[in-house]
Point group: C2
């Protein structure tokens, strides 16, 4: 892949059975469709309801994906948990499976923790996994985790573990922060991903790596296309299109909206199910979303799975 | 126990070895000392660093306590996790062991979740555990969890599961909220615990059950004494003493301060260790805390464990 080409990852939504168990077969099919649309698989992200899954469920699902032919090098599973042993177990397993890297939340129960505490935490994970193949993408998502990752912390981690700490996903929604990350660390190959395709073109122009975005679950092809052709004359027009679609989804609770659209365009009603504490769109929200999508001639081509 | 007697629980701090593993023997000794001081054992609470422990570690520690003679009916383990299966597994195990009840956090990764989503979550837990002996104390601690439990949610849960939802711990620090919980639900036997002994006398006078408090780890005897004698003439004086001691600890990060004091008065330096992302007090903080405790003639009588 050329250095000047951007990369896009989807935090893959997780399908549940009527008993609220993860549905492995359906998950594999979704991952295949996303790969066909040229986006990588950031499974077990926020939009995957990953923190509503147990460690065992996530390890089982990752194994199932790989056993069913999903290439490990196209996977970037989320492995960060509150408890050190959980993060170590999931990370060690993912690395042993040969994944491209892991997307790692900070421990997110305690608030107002110090950079020193977070540094010790990530250090312990890296030392305990103890594998040269470990590639960590740090996951900065203060609106949800409420535990931000400071530039000073990233700098310290990069200095201590330059081969293991290889990038970051910035889901702060604050472009000045994304830019500061790029300006501070990207020159040496550190990969800064925007947390939304809203910032994709800006990120790539500034020297960032691409995006890892919720809406890459529903609009993967066009987002991946911009990442590849961002030097093209029509890049700004492409970006405007992507942002327009994104904004439709942002009118609703994001994860239920992604699942409602996936249910609709796949013709698989099961997709609309979420694990508590998240809930599906109500009827009115769903009708409103679908009307907006129809108005925009939105589609998810090739998704039909039934 | 007389209805007019208050109850006090300690969210027992968790000892770690040099390898950051929980130290079962040390944990048992601490629990015995707390029981000798008449406080119950709310193990695996916020102050226990419970969310820094894996499900397996917590299940193992609970088994170890009971195997070593800690009475199950004096235990109120925290069992609430982000993922439904983790909460169900820990709750089912604790109930099977015959604990007095479980203290249950809401799932705390996603923020801004609906009462409907939280209701479904707790309902699923109750239905899946499916045991008449299940007694849930809801855990309202918005400053840390960032996921509050509304009065409307509690009312709905109480109506649906009157035998399983038996109380709440209010760690909001907002007395008007604690009072509203008492006024709304206590007449029917619902037990409202304040999250700090700062509110102990107020809580008992208003009709609440007592307190579950961080500083019951270091000052258990006097707190338990007030809970028993709150009708006495000197109750306000006792409360003022308790509050004074509490305020000394509140000048520092609470969990490291509890552990530093426990290390000092037990003569077991190991107690000062925390699991990342939490860190111990620095030298200056520790010296300052110890000087304040000396000035106040503070002690933890009978704690020496070495």
């Amino acid at each position: 892949m050329s250095q000047t080409m951007g990369r896009v990852w989807s935090p893959v939504i997780t399908p549940f059975t009527a008993e609220l168990a993860p549905d492995g077969e359906r998950f594999v099919a979704q991952c295949r469709w996303l790969l066909d649309n040229d986006v990588g698989l950031a499974v077990f992200g926020t939009n995957s309801e990953a923190n509503s899954l147990s460690v065992e469920e996530k390890i089982g699902l990752l194994d199932f994906l790989i056993e069913n032919g999903i290439p490990a090098e196209r996977l970037m599973p989320g492995t960060g948990a509150c408890a050190l042993p959980d993060t170590v177990a999931q990370t060690r397993h993912a690395v042993a499976k040969g994944v491209e890297g892991v997307l790692m939340l900070p421990p997110f129960y305690y608030k107002g923790v110090s950079d020193e505490g977070l540094f010790r935490y990530f250090s312990e994970v890296i030392e305990r996994v103890g594998d040269d193949r470990l590639r960590i993408y740090l996951y900065h998502i203060p609106p949800v985790s409420q535990v931000p990752l400071s530039l000073a912390l990233i700098e310290r981690l990069l200095k201590a573990y330059p081969n293991n700490v290889v990038g970051v996903k910035d889901s702060s929604g604050d472009w000045s922060n994304t830019l500061a990350m790029i300006d501070s660390f990207s020159a040496d190959g550190f990969q800064v991903y925007a947390g939304s395709e809203h910032f994709l073109l800006q990120t790539l122009r500034a020297g960032g790596a691409g995006c890892i975005s919720a809406t890459a679950n529903v609009n993967p092809g066009p987002i991946a296309a911009l990442a590849k052709t961002w030097h093209a004359a029509n890049a700004d027009d492409q970006q405007a299109e992507l942002t327009g679609t994104r904004k439709l989804f942002e009118r609703f609770p994001m994860i239920p909206a992604l699942k409602a659209a996936t249910a609709r365009y796949s013709d698989v009603e099961q997709w609309s199910r979420l694990r508590p504490p998240l809930v599906e769109l109500n009827e009115q929200q769903r009708d409103e979303l679908f009307a907006l999508l129809d108005d925009a001639s939105f589609d998810m081509p090739g998704l039909k799975q039934s």
